[in-house]
């Protein structure tokens, strides 16, 4: 490990974020490098000192009482709707409460790939800067355009102007995924390109690395060639959202757009 690399990770080391192998590698470097060793000692000393001298805050008694009383009078917890079957790994579900929807996240270690052709094609179509055949910003024009060209009604995404994800509809074109014709919608999300592809695939079995529940849909997240891809099924249509924005933002885009 070169010194330049080590400097970036001093905090991670001091914070105990390394596994045994990484720790061994880092400590190997420390044995030979005074500068990094000094840095580690300093950070360790500083963090410990701060932690030791911070005044401890306790919740006031009246707050505790207030909270307990309110819980006892609150309606029972909302029962969970259709939970997908857990696939049997050590998962830590984290709850993201977004706009009143409960969103559950499982991180799948070792789940199979998503529908690979769709994934590859979606990324391929996204990265190619293909010309639009119908231009935005009016999504209804796109809906009209696809009528008769694809065998399903295309309900274009359009997150509300005031939503958490500022998206502009740029345009659309006719495309294909494998043998199926597909609608390819293109968006601009805060300067980042984002593609949405919709195609008919009645027998699709999606298996993403991560699965998020967004309303009634199971959204499968995957990553290919530096792009994040979110896929989900709505009746017999498969939707694939491709972009380089963060997965969390993509989930919000899906959530805001599919209302």
């Amino acid at each position: 490990m070169r010194c330049f690399d080590a400097k970036r990770f001093v905090h991670a080391y001091v914070d105990g974020e390394f596994d045994a192998v990484e720790r061994g590698e880092f400590e190997g470097h420390l044995r030979t490098c005074n500068a990094c060793r000094d840095q580690v000692r300093f950070e360790d000393w500083f963090q410990s000192g701060v932690r030791e001298h911070i005044p401890r805050t306790l919740a006031p008694v009246h707050l505790r009482d207030r909270v307990l009383t309110e819980i006892q009078q609150a309606p029972a917890p909302t029962p969970v709707r259709s939970l997908p079957a857990r696939l049997g790994w050590a998962a830590v579900p984290a709850v993201l409460a977004a706009a009143g929807l409960g969103i559950l996240v499982w991180v799948a270690a070792g789940a199979g790939p998503t529908n690979d052709i769709a994934l590859t094609t979606a990324v391929d179509m996204h990265r190619r800067y293909l010309p639009v055949e119908v231009a935005g910003p009016d999504v209804n024009a796109a809906r009209e355009f696809f009528r008769g060209k694809v065998d399903f009604a295309v309900r274009p995404f359009m997150p509300a102007a005031a939503s958490a994800v500022p998206a502009q509809f740029v345009g659309a074109r006719l495309s294909h995924i494998g043998p199926a014709t597909a609608a390819h919608l293109m968006y601009d999300v805060a300067g980042h390109r984002l593609s949405v592809m919709a195609f008919q695939a009645p027998n699709d079995q999606l298996r993403g690395r991560e699965v998020h529940t967004v309303g009634p849909w199971q959204v499968h997240m995957d990553r290919r060639d530096g792009y994040n891809v979110a896929m989900f099924r709505d009746r017999d249509i498969t939707w694939a959202v491709t972009s380089d924005i963060e997965p969390n933002q993509m989930i919000r885009f899906v959530s805001a757009g599919m209302r």
Binding site: A12, D15, D38, H53, A59, P60, V67, I71, A76
Partner: protein, 215 residues
């Protein structure tokens, strides 16, 4: 009727033992976020109510603290975060100014010299004051890492950002705190200013001599 009461009592007990057990931590974080006890209390109360409402989505025995902190963060962002920052916010500009002087190896050794006794009771208050001057994001990441002992992964989930963002924010926030605490300590005479007016590096010897001659 009887069965329902038993279930309800069990749910409440579970909620208390897995979620409300973190009430002190929630309040401490809420205070750091809101900077006012009244708002902090409201934030905690809204958070715990929301947590109870969604309690069936929490898997018992897993990371209750991270789960409820995620709700705290979202509630804060949606309802309590002020649109416009008030007061002076320490920016990355402050960081670059001080970094050269402060964080070289000589300086670092001076700081942590036991005779310098950098950390005293009053430092704690100054840390809290310095925290208030950080941006919401920087303040949050320091609180979660250093006062609540969350891992980077947990912080990333709570704040809804990638781990890389957590790491770079934490790095910058800690550096900002260090520069601020350094200035305070120099001001109070706890540490020597590592560069004097002419920009020469002062040694610890000189500092000790100066201290002795003063007393």
């Amino acid at each position: 009727m009887f069965g329902k009461n038993k279930d309800r009592a069990r749910v409440e007990r579970e909620f208390e033992s897995e979620i409300l057990v973190h009430l002190d931590a929630l309040y401490a974080a809420a205070l750091g976020l809101c900077r006012s006890p009244a708002n902090a209390e409201d934030l905690v109360q809204e958070t715990t109510l929301k947590a109870f409402r969604f309690f069936h989505q929490y898997e018992s025995g897993t990371n209750g603290k991270a789960w409820v902190f995620r709700i705290l963060m979202n509630t804060f962002i949606n309802r309590y975060r002020k649109r416009k920052a008030e007061g002076r916010i320490m920016s990355d500009l402050d960081l670059s100014e001080h970094q050269e002087r402060l964080l070289g190896p000589e300086a670092m050794r001076t700081w942590s010299d036991p005779e310098v006794a950098f950390f005293r009771r009053s430092i704690g208050q100054e840390v809290l004051r310095a925290l208030e001057d950080l941006s919401d994001d920087y303040r949050t990441v320091v609180m979660l890492a250093d006062f609540q002992d969350f891992t980077y992964r947990e912080i990333a989930d709570i704040m809804g950002t990638p781990i890389g963002t957590v790491m770079s924010r934490l790095y910058r926030a800690r550096r900002l705190l260090q520069t601020r605490l350094y200035d305070y300590a120099v001001d109070q005479g706890y540490v020597p200013d590592v560069t004097d007016a002419e920009g020469r590096t002062v040694s610890l010897e000189e500092f000790r001599n100066r201290k002795e001659s003063r007393s």
